[in-house]
């Protein structure tokens, strides 16, 4: 019988992570202020924590806590404000503040989204949808190139949840993502819940989506809960980050791990925070899937 692989034996070559910042345990959770003190007092069984850098711009209490927490945990920085898909250049001041945090906290991966938030001087504070056209692809590439050269590091970009579909899409979402990786050298933060949401909202096949992603481009995965909203006679899924990960999404995650590999995986929860314990349990569920899949692969290879 095969011994169950513990997290310490899961292959550790993390794509897009500088070797010196490598992590030991592939699962993490989003770090949010209600849990700061508890995490400092009793560091939970987690490999790493993810922060939105925008919450640490400037100074004050949040940075103070993050400095303490960083002593116990590797962190990843997941931007929500670069607005890579805006038809304008990435904001210079935003890059400067983001880079300042990278220099201080040395995240093992850096990411933002395939979406837009800014138009002119206005910032809409949401991850807004893009038409998948050559024009969008070019603009995203310019902004990703600019960000990567400013940071001196490769970034990951996350596939979105969207609630609108464009008539003039020239390619499927996965094709746009693949083109971004190919043209800029960036990697993907594959959000499995977002793929599930997209499949429901736009009638696409989530398995076909995952099958078309190049495994070597994926540097991180996200898992989160969504809600079902009634819209006329139909339903629309909203990527709400305030629920347990749904079983359908866990199944899709297991499929993705089988196909893509043991990739650092994050439980995201951004409102109606549960006890820290709940998040750690969700992360544990991801860890056990990674271990099960890895053990299965080893047993197949041995057989």
């Amino acid at each position: 019988m095969n011994k169950l692989v513990t997290s310490h034996e899961v292959p550790r070559a993390v794509p897009f992570c500088p070797p010196e910042l490598s992590i030991d345990d592939p699962v993490g959770i989003g770090l949010r202020s209600p849990h700061y003190q508890e995490i400092i007092d009793q560091p939970p069984h987690l490999g790493w924590l993810e922060v939105h850098p925008e919450n640490y711009f400037g100074g004050g209490m949040h940075r103070h806590y993050l400095k303490q927490i960083r002593q116990d945990f590797p962190i990843s920085m997941h931007g929500v404000g670069l607005s890579l898909g805006s038809d304008q250049s990435v904001d210079e001041e935003h890059l400067r503040q983001f880079k300042e945090l990278i220099d201080i906290f040395e995240p093992f991966v850096i990411s933002d989204h395939v979406s837009w938030s800014a138009s002119g001087n206005a910032h809409l504070n949401d991850l807004l949808p893009l038409p998948y056209t050559q024009e969008t692809l070019n603009r995203l590439c310019e902004n990703i190139d600019r960000t990567q050269s400013y940071f001196g590091r490769k970034i990951l970009v996350e596939n979105p949840s969207t609630y609108l579909a464009f008539n003039d899409n020239e390619m499927p979402e996965y094709e746009l993502l693949n083109a971004l990786c190919e043209k800029t050298g960036c990697g993907l933060l594959l959000d499995i819940n977002n793929i599930y949401v997209q499949s429901h909202n736009h009638g696409i096949d989530p398995i076909e989506y995952i099958d078309n992603i190049k495994p070597e481009t994926v540097g991180e995965m996200h898992l989160a809960g969504h809600i079902v909203k009634n819209a006329g006679e139909h339903t629309i899924l909203i990527d709400s980050h305030n629920q347990l990960v749904r079983n359908e999404v866990w199944d899709l995650y297991e499929y993705a791990v089988k196909r893509i590999g043991s990739i650092p995986t994050l439980i995201e929860w951004d409102q109606d925070f549960p006890p820290l314990e709940t998040l750690v349990e969700e992360a544990g569920r991801a860890r056990s899937i990674i271990e099960r899949v890895t053990a299965g692969k080893q047993s197949n290879e041995a057989g």
């Binding site: 925008e54 404000g81 949401d126 038409p131 024009e135 609630y163 464009f166 819209a231």
Partner: protein, 259 residues
């Protein structure tokens, strides 16, 4: 439609009342395929995310306002403000500058004349909370400077510092909002001028009530007036101003940034 034009039109759709979503221009609507779910419903999801999340940001930044006018009133007022003054930065926890001036013009708040000043106080608290972490002036720093050049020194207030003068008792309004059981209701019938320094020396934000002469001195320093001139001007207005005591007090309070 070009990407920039789409984004501009989308932005305009978000920053107006949700009931106007159905009035979007035909060329904008034509961009999207409806499928099973009506376009209005799809756009409303985004409207709710954009306006709802920004209203929530303001609710978190202005807890005293919420306490004074209630959540519904604050949300309605916030929506109007958001439509006219969208954030200009992705750093939305700093969003809300100008909310105090907006409140002065908001018709439904006219009967609550102190409300704008309470908003000014909450903006100052928020600014202090997220200000860059600078270093306080060391107690012996000025002693190191030759006396003949001391008057030329420009003493900077901490990056977290804001000075507020108001005709309303902002501190008692705040105490009452935070704990109505143990604090007297503020008397808002008469004018009570208050002068405050909001500053964050380390992790906690302090609200310091100031006498008139100290307030004037700090105001001059904030305007980058050199120390010698600032003392002279303050003493001209307030002959009893004691600079040594002032300096000692604000060094202890860590009101100044290192030279």
């Amino acid at each position: 439609m070009k990407l920039a034009k789409f984004q501009k039109k989308f932005k305009e759709t978000m920053f107006r009342p949700v009931r106007e979503i159905q009035d979007c221009e035909a060329d904008f609507k034509a961009l999207f395929s409806e499928g099973d779910i009506p376009l209005d419903e799809r756009l409303k999801v985004y409207h709710n995310n954009v306006v709802g999340s920004l209203s929530e940001v303001l609710r978190v930044t202005f807890p005293l306002l919420e306490n004074l006018v209630g959540e519904d009133f604050l949300r309605a007022m916030s929506r109007e403000f958001i439509f006219e003054n969208p954030p200009t930065s992705a750093c939305v926890h700093m969003y809300g500058a100008g909310f105090d001036d907006f409140i002065k013009t908001y018709e439904l708040a006219k009967s609550l004349p102190y409300l704008a000043d309470v908003a000014t106080l909450e903006l100052a608290l928020n600014t202090a909370y997220y200000a860059p972490d600078d270093v306080a002036l060391a107690p012996d720093a000025l002693a190191q400077i030759p006396p003949e050049t001391l008057g030329d020194v420009v003493l900077n207030l901490r990056s977290s510092a804001t000075l507020i003068a108001s005709s309303y008792p902002l501190e008692s309004i705040r105490s009452f909002c935070l704990d109505a059981d143990n604090n007297p209701a503020p008397d808002l019938t008469e004018e009570h001028t208050c002068r405050l320094l909001i500053v964050r020396p380390a992790l906690e934000v302090n609200i310091i009530s100031l006498p008139e002469d100290e307030f004037e001195m700090l105001r001059l320093l904030q305007d980058k007036v050199p120390l010698g001139d600032a003392v002279e001007k303050t003493m001209a207005a307030f002959p009893t101003f004691d600079f040594t005591a002032f300096l000692q007090k604000h060094t202890v309070l860590e009101s100044f940034t290192s030279l």
